[in-house]
């Protein structure tokens, strides 16, 4: 072992299907790694305390607040960000957000959509209460949430 602690580490991650290998400062947050190092700026930052959920991404399929994960903790993981959701077409949830006017400024939207996508993967036909519980870690300051809850429920399979 070296006498001095290492201040950076090698990270090998797969983001939206693409592999990235980087030497990153050990203290760099995953959200800053995604935004500043990989230029995936769709993932946003709204607080310092893990309260707002704007930075939500999927880490090996699980929604996490990427401000509360170090980039080095993601070594070996597969990450999906909002940029990785739509292929040639938007997902039903993305379309539902637009159809139900579930966004205004759009700043919380990527985090909301990532949290709601994870919910719908687990529970394709959630009840209103289940949607609210799943999104309670995501703050929106524009919409009052009513249209967001409506959009998520509409995107669920049961409401088509």
């Amino acid at each position: 072992m070296s006498a001095l602690p290492s201040t950076s580490m090698f990270v090998d991650v797969r983001v939206n299907g693409e592999r990235y290998e980087r030497e990153v400062p050990a203290r760099r947050l995953l959200v800053h790694f995604l935004r500043d190092d990989l230029d995936l700026t769709g993932t946003h930052i709204g607080c310092d305390t893990g309260s707002c959920g704007a930075c939500t991404v999927h880490l090996d399929g699980v929604p996490v607040k990427s401000c509360s994960v170090l980039a080095v903790q993601a070594h070996g993981a597969s990450i999906t960000t909002v940029e990785g959701l739509a292929g040639d077409e938007q997902t039903p949830l993305q379309r539902a957000f637009s159809e139900h006017h579930a966004l205004q400024c759009g700043y919380c939207t990527p985090g909301m959509i990532m949290s709601a996508t994870a919910l719908l993967e687990q529970n394709p036909t959630p009840t209103e209460d289940e949607v609210k519980v799943a999104l309670q870690g995501n703050i929106c300051r524009c919409t009052g949430y009513w249209n967001i809850v409506e959009a998520v429920m509409a995107a669920g399979k049961g409401s088509a």
């Binding site: 400062p25 709204g46 400024c105 009513w146």
Partner: protein, 821 residues
């Protein structure tokens, strides 16, 4: 969530206008492809971090940046001493005494609130900039602190700005009608010792930020930012920086919420500009959440003291008088405009003709105030709603009937208030009936009994508010007669480009208000084309020539000023297109119509030119015309019709339009704990012609959510030592999904007679939710000692206090008869 569709009363011809056209903004935003300020990068840019004061009031003895500069990767620093040499203090809106205030981009000599920027560090990474900021050594000599505006006015209070000679920044008496006579003739006088509107703000999720580049060759800065009022920022910054306004190019694109809070970032932007020049590299600054809470844009806290309301036996309210103490925080960044803006709605929605309001604004060792959704009118409308409910409560009037009786009536519209403001249109009693219907008012007493059977106290409340929009900036002269601002304006350009593209630029800075969509709706209807054929550029750029002095997005005005400019420019373009088509077809211009993407002869639709041909002629195919073909490019400045108000009488029309909201809610209170829940909520909105009803409803919902947050959870609470107790979202609880009640909305449309499209500015909503929740709590607690509600912010512990000690609130109200006046 339920939307009730009601019949519109407008007779305007509509195409896309009035439809729920899907938003143009959404595609990029749901895919994470929006461009917010922190997303913008430049080669070699440095990250700025501010060193902030840990003291609420202290003299700065010394600042030593040497340790920070020695850290590898640190590009440079800036201190207040440098700022004082390189810049002049910001221009002050205030007359004396506030006008003497010296306010700079960084503290000079003294700090006046916790979180005040005293120095700035720029480094190669965000993390390093923070580390380096911690190495900046600042020696402070702490001073006495004052956090209560009432105490800051007392003799011997610590003085924040010695150059102002005390803590008063603005003082004015506003009186209209014959107040003394109204009280002499009153049958009842209701007296309330103190009412308090709490300090909070709407905390947009995206924080303030900028990427600033300096061009040494031209001496020009390019400021890519999310400041929401570049027109204001540039007139604050350019004189302070001793440059012309042309040297400050503002660029905005997507902005993650603003709510007025992003109007006053000019001090931080100046610091970025100075460092970009000093270090000869782009400087990136993004605020942290704690920075924002501690230092940016708190809403005005306001006291209403010794209020008296004159009431006749039949319930007619003839006048009120009160003494206001407004808490501006430590600096005047947009203040003392709050000292006049309340008077846009001086009598609220009521027929009060005799009003006296003695307004004093003071500084305290707290973060500076600046506009927050409902700015200054919300505080005043909360006051008018409170006194209406307290009058009803104390004199035994029915709250609904008292409102119905005292509301300005539809047949009085347009209605001139005692201070010369003109309420353009509206039907307040009909709106009240509608909201009562939505909430099921006729079943309230049954529901009260049912709740009681479960041990709950049920309460019902109404909040009726105005959203005055399109400011007459001449009102600034009522707080400072020497100011040379008046009227308002906004700009749009519309052009037909070479392949027939219709391209619109705006001077506005939308933060979720859907300007790309609504502007396209208006353009498409005028040009007779599809809404998808209209390309509206997002945001503001000083290079586009589509801005004027008041450009920005604030104060409920886009539907009037912004769309007024869009309509004007599009009509100019339509005229050019018809002129050009008539030149080609050699027919009178009047014979041409625009429809289906063509300019064609109305009586001979086969003689038709596609927009592409019209766009190509002046741009790329203009030979052979005996006279110049029209340029297919139009710029229009919309100017609302205003006069300069009468400064002596403080009289004149201060805003062009008055949207109206009536909110109603039902709460259930646990009498053992004070915990309460909103179990039902309804909101009726009238903003005249709705360009896009879904977007309007979205604004109503957002304003409702902010009001619920402010009423129940959100408070910038300081302790007596000047520490902010809620400096982040961990301590400052904003509503989450589970906090939201069931909501029913409805709209009525009374078109404005004064605006180009019959629209009214909207979106602020005047805090209807705060008012109706206060009223519902007062109603619920009637059964437990009848306390009156005297604070706008009522967390559970305050309700518990009212339950346990109703006599404390009872001691604040007194009713006297005619003889006592």
């Amino acid at each position: 969530m339920t939307t009730v569709e009601t019949e519109g009363t407008t007779t305007l011809q509509r195409g896309f206008v009035g439809q729920n056209v899907p938003r143009k903004e959404d595609r990029r935003l749901v895919e994470g492809q929006g461009q917010f300020v922190d997303d913008v990068k430049r080669h070699g840019m440095g990250y700025l971090h501010f060193v902030r004061s840990p003291y609420p009031h202290a003299r700065i003895l010394s600042i030593d940046v040497s340790a920070a500069l020695e850290l590898p990767g640190v590009y440079g620093t800036l201190t207040g001493d440098e700022v004082a040499i390189l810049t002049d203090p910001f221009f002050q809106i205030a007359a004396e005494p506030g006008g003497s205030m010296k306010d700079y981009a960084l503290s000079v000599g003294k700090v006046r609130y916790i979180g005040e920027p005293v120095a700035a560090v720029v480094a190669e990474s965000r993390e390093l900039a923070r580390d380096a900021a911690e190495l900046v050594m600042v020696d402070y000599e702490p001073l006495d602190v004052v956090v209560d505006a009432r105490k800051s006015l007392e003799p011997g209070a610590p003085v924040l700005h010695e150059e102002c000679g005390g803590n008063i920044t603005y003082q004015g008496v506003w009186e209209w009608g014959d107040v003394d006579q109204a009280f002499a003739e009153a049958d009842h006088v209701v007296k309330i010792t103190d009412l308090h509107f709490d300090r909070f703000n709407s905390t947009p999720l995206e924080l303030d930020g900028a990427l600033v580049e300096y061009n040494r060759g031209t001496g020009q800065w390019t400021i890519t930012t999310n400041n929401q009022f570049p027109g204001f920022a540039v007139i604050m910054m350019a004189p302070a920086m001793r440059v012309g306004t042309d040297k400050l190019r503002f660029v905005t694109q997507d902005i993650g919420g603003g709510f007025g809070n992003k109007i006053t970032s000019h001090p931080q932007l100046v610091a970025c500009c100075l460092l970009a020049r000093k270090l000869n590299r782009p400087v990136q600054w993004t605020e942290w959440r704690t920075d924002f809470h501690q230092s940016m844009s708190h809403g005005n806290e306001r006291w209403f003291l010794d209020t008296e309301v004159a009431v006749r036996a039949d319930g007619t309210m003839t006048g009120f008088r009160t003494r206001v103490v407004d808490d501006a925080g430590a600096y005047l960044r947009y203040e003392p405009l709050g000292g006049v803006i309340w008077s846009q709605v001086a009598p609220g929605m009521y027929g009060w003709r005799n009003i006296r309001l003695d307004f004093t604004q003071a500084v305290t060792n707290k973060a500076p105030c600046s506009p927050n959704r409902g700015y200054s009118r919300m505080q005043h409308l909360w006051f008018t709603e409170r006194i209406v409910d307290i009058v009803a409560h104390e004199l035994g009037f029915d709250r609904v009937e008292l409102r119905r009786k005292n509301y300005v009536q539809p047949e009085q519209m347009p209605y001139e208030t005692p201070n010369g403001c003109v309420y353009d249109s509206g039907d307040y009693p009909a709106s009240l009936d509608l909201v009562l219907d939505l909430i099921g008012y006729d079943t309230i007493e049954q529901r009260r009994e049912e709740a009681a059977s479960r041990g709950k106290l049920l309460g019902f409340g109404i909040g009726s508010t105005l959203d005055s929009g399109t400011n007459n900036f001449g009102q600034s002269q009522l707080v400072n007669p020497d100011l040379q601002f008046s009227g308002n304006n906004e700009v749009a350009t519309v052009k037909l480009d070479i392949f027939g593209e219709i391209v619109v630029t705006l001077g506005t800075t939308p933060q979720g208000q859907s300007h790309e969509t609504t502007a396209a709706q208006v353009v498409a209807d005028i040009l007779g084309c599809d809404v998808d054929a209209v390309h509206v550029r997002a945001g503001h750029d000083s290079y586009w020539n589509s801005h004027a002095g008041f450009s920005g997005t604030y104060a409920s005005q886009f539907a009037v000023t912004g769309l007024g400019a869009v309509k004007g420019a599009t009509e100019m373009l339509a005229d050019q297109m018809k002129t050009l088509a008539s030149m080609v077809f050699q027919c009178p211009k009047e014979a041409i119509e625009l429809a289906d993407g063509f300019a064609r002869i109305a009586d001979n639709p086969e003689a038709a030119l596609p927009f592409m041909a019209l766009g190509a002629i002046p741009n790329a195919n203009n030979a052979g015309f005996p006279i110049d073909p029209p340029p297919m490019n139009a710029r229009f400045v919309y100017r609302p019709p205003f006069d300069v108000p009468d400064k002596e009488r403080k009289f004149g029309n201060l805003t062009l339009t008055y949207s109206m909201q009536i909110h109603a809610c039902v709460v259930e209170v646990d009498p053992e704990t004070g915990v309460y829940e909103i179990v039902d909520y309804a909101a009726v909105d009238d903003c005249g012609v709705r360009i896009n009803p879904k977007i309007v409803e979205g604004q109503v919902m957002g304003a409702t959510a902010h009001a619920i947050g402010a009423a129940m959870f959100e408070s910038f609470t300081y302790d007596d030592e000047g520490n902010l107790l809620t400096p982040n979202f961990y301590d400052y609880h904003v509503p989450h999904t589970l906090d939201m009640p069931p909501l029913t909305t409805a709209a009525i449309e009374t078109p404005s007679p004064f605006t180009p499209l019959g629209t009214k500015g909207m979106g602020e909503g005047g805090g209807g939710g705060i008012h109706c929740i206060c009223a519902a709590l007062q109603d619920a607690l009637r059964a437990t000692g009848s306390p009156i509600v005297t604070d706008s912010h009522n967390p559970y512990h305050r309700v518990f206090e009212m339950l346990r000690h109703p006599e404390h609130a009872r001691a604040k109200v007194e009713v006297t008869g005619r003889s006592a006046t």
